[in-house]
Subunit: 284 residues, 2 copies
């Protein structure tokens, strides 16, 4: 089939490579507003041709929006308009509620399947794409009852052929949870990076002792601002709730350390150790 992909970055590019690695007969049409990226994507074989949004949307049997969330919002209605009646639209954005709301009012709502793959790296752009990114990762499908059965079936079969795990939830629930387990992690990391970079202005050698622990907690500060600034805006209420809860936890630590309550500090960390239970399920 013809697969159209808008946004030839880490996620769009990796999706294309993942499907290509299955060895089936598909034709990939790519769209990217950044000409340099489009050219790189073509050179790297992520897609077979570069086209315009309109043309790609009209030709594709599966049309994939892999752009930043603010761009997806603008593209949703256009995509549904241009889409042929039996084609399928998916988006891979990190927020879901607003897109489902937009699509709900459209007569072709059934052709849209709202997807979020829990996969990524801190790198971005077509040259960060790799075929294995989605393998064994979780694909969340939101508000599935609003999608036509055949559209859902086709998409699910494709994700399963990529060895992905499937999970279904409603879009509001998705946005609430993802604020805590993904969006907050990114803010914690960006802020940590800024804190130590700021310190470096006065203490040139502050990074001399940075090791794997620092690297692990600050890794996400390498992430793309073009992707993340819109996500925080689109999931604003949930992100603010998570961020405020995080600041309160840090203030609790600060007060305990300030008041030299070593036993309470111990108890707090022992509670946090319960995270082992969760990480056992993630890290393999």
């Amino acid at each position: 089939m013809k697969i159209g992909i808008v946004g030839l970055g880490l996620l769009g590019g990796s999706f294309a490579l993942g499907v290509k690695s299955l060895g089936e007969e598909h034709h990939f049409i790519g769209v990217d507003i950044n000409e340099e990226n489009a050219k790189t994507a073509l050179n790297l074989g992520l897609v077979d041709e570069i086209s315009t949004f309109e043309k790609c949307a009209g030709e594709a049997s599966l049309f994939v929006l892999a752009t930043p969330v603010n761009v997806i919002e603008r593209q949703m209605i256009d995509a549904l308009e241009y889409l042929s009646n039996d084609a399928i639209l998916i988006d891979l954005g990190s927020t879901k509620a607003s897109f489902c709301r937009i699509a709900n009012d459209h007569p072709k709502r059934g052709r849209y399947v709202s997807c979020h793959p829990i996969a990524g790296t801190e790198n971005s752009g077509p040259d960060a794409a790799f075929a294995g990114l989605l393998r064994h990762k979780m694909m969340i499908i939101c508000d599935k009852s609003a999608s036509d059965d055949d559209a859902l079936k086709t998409v699910v079969a494709l994700f399963k052929s990529l060895d992905m795990r499937l999970s279904y939830m409603n879009a509001d629930e998705h946005d609430r949870h993802i604020a805590y387990v993904s969006h907050l992690s990114h803010i914690s990391s960006f802020a940590l990076g800024l804190t130590v970079l700021d310190r470096e202005k006065d203490e040139k050698s502050v990074f001399a002792m940075a090791g794997s622990g620092f690297s692990s907690t600050v890794r996400l500060a390498k992430s793309s601002p073009a992707m993340w600034a819109p996500i925080f805006a689109y999931n604003r209420e949930n992100v603010l709730e998570a961020l405020n809860a995080y600041i309160r936890q840090l203030e609790q630590f600060r007060n305990i350390i300030e008041e030299n309550k070593v036993d309470e500090s111990y108890d707090l960390m022992q509670k946090a150790n319960d995270i082992r239970r969760i990480l056992m399920g993630i890290d393999k």
Copy 2:
């Protein structure tokens, strides 16, 4: 030579295994207040015999304190007292200024070399120890001019044979920097773990979508409270300064998101991206 190690956990055990892997003729005497750990360390071959603190300190040519920092503080003077005149004392604690201050008043100050290896994992105990932990890692030696030349030379040669990189600084500078690039990372991670665990009480499935980004930022929340509670207390002033700076950065993010200033959020993250420059030097 006879090498005595007090504290047979991740760091003490890995140091022993690292030196053992060199294939030289050494005899390792271990001390651990926890009998279970001592037994495990002996079974695993981390050390060749288990002894008492006094006996071990009296016999060892190299006596290593690899206990939590509050315990090191109690053990420093005893260790210097029991030590034979030409033996060497090192500690591997994550704070350095208070130990150097304690040792400075002792007639055997020259036999003490103040060390901090920038190495660790989120695991603890003798069964977390492995021979390669210290390889290619940074060993910070503090206030080296206060150590006898021969003691320093022996210790440096040993660390070099373990393929470690050496760095020298004064103990106060060490404690200021390490608050930012290690201690703060741990607090950020512990607090992140607590925030989401807390959320789980109301939203059972919040962790369903946790992926590698969450795992990376929260990994250090698995760390040992027995090790970290004393570190925060012993480096209190510096940790509080770093933590307050971090909370301010998070509040800046919060305000920007609250006020929907997407451009400022973008700029802040772009600044944070400068962390790539640092991480290139750490991750290999």
